[in-house]
């Protein structure tokens, strides 16, 4: 059982930004392991590491507005023996310092964890420059790197804790805005293991991140029409959980992918690679349609770019029509 929040589908469901879970996660690790260090590039407060800085100033490294240097500093700390968390916005880190991540962290197998904040259009008013929509694409192509996309603040805290206790490079993406808490403390979390949030037999929605809540809402609505929808939280983009994805395709015969990221080369593409090689079924893909974002409120942008509940319902019906 996935032990989800019983308030799913209700208006008063608790909401919290995934970045808050990250902030709590590094505090957990700071207390548990004195080798854990946190770095930021002038974004301590908004990336939620200010409390870590206050509590463990001797293990906090302020790099100033210099993300390329920050990634190298983190690699140096890690190669010495530290567990280094790099905390910035994903557009800059791993966007601006991708080369440093590739060579200093991934190639060298440095124990660096890269927390990409402010991902997706739900960043909202800051506009397209600060809405990371390509970070999964540019990280999942790198050898040695684990890529995680937590779906809510609780899962983000678990992700931070689990990755912080593993050796080796990892990237995980976080959101700025408050989003529904779908999981509970007892929801299973294991790197490389997708979680079936909801069983179903007609269509499987496989996605990642806070936008997955819209899949759960769509599933509730479609159930009333007699359509049985499975929802899979594919939080680990790499190494991807082939067994669960193939199992969902076999059980349902049709798949919809959903993510707050460019459709190209993201979570959905990773799912399609698995399906194409193992068990091809019709797929509809939801995410950013080869477009940059813009300013606006998160819910306005999620709707415009086709990642809201109605878009999911439409995609489920389209893929059902294609199902043999």
């Amino acid at each position: 059982m996935s032990n989800l929040n019983p308030k799913i589908g209700q208006k008063d469901i608790e909401q919290e930004a995934t970045r808050k879970g990250y902030g709590l996660g590094v505090l957990d690790l700071g207390a548990a392991d004195e080798n854990v260090v946190v770095l930021t590039a002038d974004l301590a407060e908004s990336t939620q590491v200010l409390d870590f800085q206050k509590k463990y100033p001797e293990r906090f490294v302020e790099c100033g507005v210099a993300e390329q240097n920050m990634m190298g500093i983190a690699a140096g700390l890690a190669l010495y023996g530290k567990t280094a968390f790099v905390s910035s916005y994903a557009t800059f880190s791993p966007g601006r310092n991708w080369d440093q991540m590739r060579v200093n962290v991934c190639y060298s197998m440095a124990n660096v964890k890269i927390a990409g904040n402010h991902t997706g259009v739900s960043v909202g008013p800051d506009g397209a420059t600060h809405q990371a929509l390509e970070d999964v694409a540019i990280t999942r192509v790198l050898p040695n790197l684990i890529v995680e996309v937590p779906c809510d603040a609780i899962e983000a805290r678990k992700t931070t804790n689990v990755l912080g206790r593993m050796k080796g490079p990892a990237y995980f993406r976080l959101g700025r805005s408050k989003t529904p808490i779908m999981t509970t403390e007892t929801t299973p979390f294991e790197v490389g293991k997708a979680v079936v949030f909801r069983e179903g037999k007609d269509v499987a929605i496989i996605g990642s991140g806070p936008v997955l809540y819209n899949a759960l809402l769509a599933a509730i609505e479609l159930e009333k029409e007699g359509i049985s929808v499975m929802v899979v939280n594919n939080h680990t983009i790499k190494p991807i959980d082939v067994d669960t994805i193939v199992g969902a395709a076999k059980a349902c015969g049709a798949v919809v992918t959903l993510e707050e990221h460019q459709i190209m080369a993201g979570c959905g593409s990773a799912v399609c690679e698995v399906l194409a090689m193992n068990y091809p079924v019709p797929v509809e893909m939801l995410g950013m349609p080869n477009s940059f974002g813009e300013s606006g409120q998160p819910e306005e942008l999620i709707k415009k770019y086709g990642m809201d509940k109605d878009a999911v319902v439409g995609a489920v019906k389209r893929v059902l029509a294609r199902k043999k």
Partner: protein, 283 residues
């Protein structure tokens, strides 16, 4: 570690230069100028200045050498072999399939290499990260950072230099190979770097300049750096690109070119006769 005299270091540098020529001609590709001109610096570091144990490359009490300009790795490999990290025969596997001596150094391939490098300026940031880690753990060992002059054109270099100044990383000794050349030409034609001493001073560094082919000056500068309180030190080592082989010296075209067989034979003849001053026993 060994503490060799200046004359013994000069002999080591000559052997290292010969090894570099043999490695490059066997590999058929690679960089000539930088490795040759840094032989005296590497010999001084490995045979006098640095603390390390070639039989225990991850010894906690070691000083750490970070090669930021990874392309000059033949000089590092040749020096490490001479210091006893691995058998000298392995030098001729440079750049070949199955080698531990990759075209640019890889920390997971060869024990004793602290990090992977090649993309310029990145070693400098990593060196500062290790220096911070040393300070966190009150470890009194030092970081020796080798940089090229061309990589001073990377913005990241100055991010790292600024970081080191802010954090008063006095456990860092950076040595810049100021050979005045880069791939496309002379540094001051491609993108002028001077006034380098003034730039480093402005970023809060202690600046020293040495003749990069004089082991005594190199060793003295490294000792002075250890005595500097609250500042990182940069030693600008003025070198002659391609040092030791007359037809390579000062010519930027040898930055990324290996000698052919005839050129290698002539280069080895020059090195073995100390430029014609003595008779080579190989003749």
């Amino acid at each position: 570690m060994q503490k060799l005299s200046v004359n013994e270091i000069k002999n080591k540098a000559n052997i290292i230069r010969q090894d570099i020529i043999e490695m490059l001609v066997t590999a058929g590709s690679g960089h000539s100028a930088g490795p040759l001109d840094m032989a005296d610096v590497f010999a001084s570091l490995y045979f006098n200045v640095m603390e390390y144990d070639p039989k225990n490359p991850t010894w906690e009490g070691r000083d750490r050498l970070i090669l930021s300009c990874g392309h000059i790795c033949p000089v590092m490999y040749a020096t490490m072999a001479e210091a006893g990290y691995f058998p000298k025969e392995e030098l001729l596997t440079l750049r070949k399939f199955g080698t531990r001596l990759h075209g640019h150094p890889h920390n997971l391939a060869l024990p004793g290499i602290e990090t992977s490098s090649g993309p310029l300026a990145q070693g400098t940031s990593q060196a500062m990260g290790m220096a911070v880690a040393l300070k966190m753990d009150r470890n009194r060992n030092r970081i020796y950072l080798i940089m090229s002059d061309g990589e001073q054109q990377e913005g990241q270099t100055w991010e790292a230099v600024m970081f080191a100044g802010k954090n008063k990383l006095n456990n860092v000794t950076a040595i810049m190979d100021r050979n005045n050349i880069q791939i496309d030409g002379y540094t001051e034609d491609i993108m002028p770097l001077e006034d380098l001493p003034a730039k480093y001073k402005a970023f809060g560094w202690h600046v020293l300049e040495v003749d990069g082919h004089n082991p005594q000056e190199i060793i003295d500068a490294c000792q002075e750096a250890k005595a500097i309180y609250e500042k990182p030190t940069i030693i600008i080592a003025h070198t002659i690109a391609g040092k030791g082989v007359d037809f390579m010296e000062y010519d930027y075209k040898w930055h990324g070119t290996p000698p052919n067989k005839e050129q290698a034979a002539e280069a080895l003849r020059q090195l073995r006769t100390l430029g014609g001053k003595i008779e080579s026993e190989m003749q």
